[in-house]
């Protein structure tokens, strides 16, 4: 088992790091030359006293995609936590048809990402999409919007689909936390005549906080590596390109294997850094749980 994991994770990871320091290209992976940090940063002297920096570290498209990734992760995880909390609170209540609603909520989670991207692409179609139709009938918008193509709305479109798709996951994790809250606490609060809103903020929220923190960590890690949704819904779009999409494009579409490897390496370091930061911030909470 450890051998398989080493073969499928550790070895390829180090090979990726290595390729980032070489001149590898897709067809010549066997004969690569070490080029040092050239993929990251290189000063090219034009000979007349002038020159320019090249490489990943001064690549504006790369930094744009880093920003897109962080923005996407922050916004989507925030909304998913909020909506997930609402859905979890609803599912934690006793009402007729709870089983059906819980099953329905799982549907977005079970649909393959590429399939949900296509379903939404059709709903967000600029001419024949039901979303534009609905919004125009409700007089929210006066003319159709090209959701996935327009640079103002592309990120919004991606965020909508992601929030739709992963809120169930968030809701389930929070629900698991909610179900660990002892029922007699609520009864005690009820007898004391405490307002339900106050009960939520003073009793429920502190108890389920560890569960929420863990859920946020999982989702944030997942959001930062987002690839398929964006690649399928808004291909080759500067406004939504994330780090993963950038790396994949250079690795295989642009035949700059080494440059893509360098981007993958940097992506790994950035996500690792963010993870450590989140853990450091959440540690006090998680620690209390154990």
């Amino acid at each position: 088992m450890l051998l398989v994991l080493a073969a499928v994770a550790a070895y390829p990871l180090f090979r990726t790091f290595y390729f980032g320091f070489t001149d590898a290209s897709l067809d010549m992976l066997d004969s690569v030359n070490w080029v040092g940090f050239r993929n990251y940063l290189e000063w090219v002297d034009y000979g007349d006293g002038e020159g320019e920096f090249f490489g990943l570290l001064v690549d504006e498209v790369w930094w744009q995609s880093v920003w897109n990734t962080l923005y996407f992760s922050f916004v989507s995880v925030s909304f998913e936590t909020f909506f997930g909390l609402i859905v979890a609170l609803v599912l934690n209540a006793n009402f007729a048809g709870r089983g059906i609603v819980r099953a329905a909520v799982l549907i977005p989670w079970a649909i393959p990402t590429t399939v949900s991207a296509k379903m939404w692409a059709w709903m967000m179609h600029d001419q024949f999409g039901i979303l534009n139709d609905l919004l125009m009938k409700l007089h929210v918008i006066s003319e159709p919007i090209a959701w996935t193509a327009s640079s103002d709305t592309a990120m919004l479109a991606v965020l909508m689909v992601d929030i739709w798709k992963t809120t169930p996951f968030m809701a389930l994790l929070i629900l698991a936390g909610l179900q660990m809250v002892p029922r007699d606490i609520y009864e005690a609060a009820k007898i004391d005549g405490v307002h339900p809103v106050k009960v939520f903020f003073k009793v429920t929220l502190p108890i389920i906080r560890p569960a929420i923190v863990v859920a946020i960590i999982f989702r944030a890690l997942d959001a930062m590596r987002v690839f398929d949704l964006i690649y399928v819904l808004t291909p080759a779009n500067d406004d939504t390109r994330t780090m993963s999409v950038f790396a994949r494009e250079y690795l295989f579409d642009f035949d700059k294997f080494a440059y893509g490897s360098a981007a993958s390496t940097l992506l790994f370091l950035i996500i690792g850094g963010v993870t450590i930061t989140i853990f450091a911030m959440g540690k006090t909470n998680v620690g209390r749980e154990n």
Partner: protein, 275 residues
């Protein structure tokens, strides 16, 4: 606030959650039953029932083969990762050794790896192993996310089983493999079903590796196939076919989710809450 307002607004909220969750899939179904020009009329309710799109998708091209690919890959991934994980989690839950906690956390963190970070190295490895454009490349590479998760959940589960059972087996002279096969496996069915299901769904839905390691149409799995259905030009995208194909690959998953709802929820939360 009168009780009926409270109750009405609560059920309104429930209704909103329900409609938002189901609508995109419902709309895909509605669209997939439309043929020809009808598809370009926006309808909120089913207006026609034509199986043309399904017929086209399943008879033209290699979609049937692609479904078969997905089934084979997902099944292979489940079987191999369960087999490997049972042995590993037995060791992790029963045998004491130094650095065990650290090892468990390393294993779990592998499943949260950004997959793109290993893509370049895996691509090289898979080519040198000679399994590029073969379904084995996917079975192999999917271990990166199924194994850590399966090991994690099974270890937690095994730790909860009383040690006395296997002590009795040892006294009776059973070997470690006999203990795993004859004592643990019968007890572990619930955990195996849960983790197997989740591994299956993960493998069925995976896109990045399937997209990268498969070069020919007949070898692709369904998520990639659906992403790549396209018409002659940007204006001829066969939306009806895409929706029909989407429904075909999603229905089995939704069936699984509905049947095994409790198990899936238990598995998802076991992976996270106990982490």
């Amino acid at each position: 606030m009168p009780i009926w307002i409270k109750r009405t607004s609560f059920y309104a909220l429930v209704a909103v959650i329900f409609v938002l969750s189901v609508f995109p899939f419902y709309y895909a179904v509605v669209t997939s039953f439309k043929s020809g020009q009808a598809i370009f009329n926006v309808d909120y309710w089913p207006t026609s029932f034509s199986l043309d799109n399904y017929f086209t998708v399943l008879t033209q091209g290699v979609f049937g083969q692609q479904i078969l690919n997905s089934i084979m890959v997902a099944t292979g991934v489940v079987l191999i990762s369960l087999a490997l994980a049972v042995g590993a989690s037995y060791a992790l839950s029963r045998i004491a050794f130094r650095g065990k906690t650290l090892m468990l956390f390393t294993i779990l963190s592998v499943s949260m790896f950004p997959q793109i970070a290993v893509l370049a190295g895996l691509f090289e490895l898979i080519r040198s192993m000679g399994i590029y454009n073969s379904l084995w490349s996917l079975v192999f590479s999917y271990m990166i996310f199924t194994l850590p998760f399966t090991v994690w959940v099974l270890t937690t589960f095994m730790k909860a089983l009383p040690v006395e059972i296997e002590e009795a087996a040892i006294v009776d002279g059973a070997s470690p493999i006999e203990i795993i096969v004859k004592v643990f496996l019968p007890l572990m069915w619930p955990a195996l079903v849960t983790t197997g299901l989740l591994a299956f769904i993960h493998a069925w839905n995976e896109f990045l590796f399937a997209f990268t390691f498969m070069a020919t149409d007949a070898k692709r799995t369904v998520p990639v196939a659906i992403a790549m259905i396209s018409g002659g030009s940007e204006f001829e995208v066969p939306w009806g076919n895409i929706m029909a194909a989407s429904v075909v690959v999603t229905v089995p998953l939704i069936a699984l989710v509905l049947i095994f709802q409790r198990k899936i929820v238990a598995g998802l939360t076991a992976g996270a809450v106990k982490g």
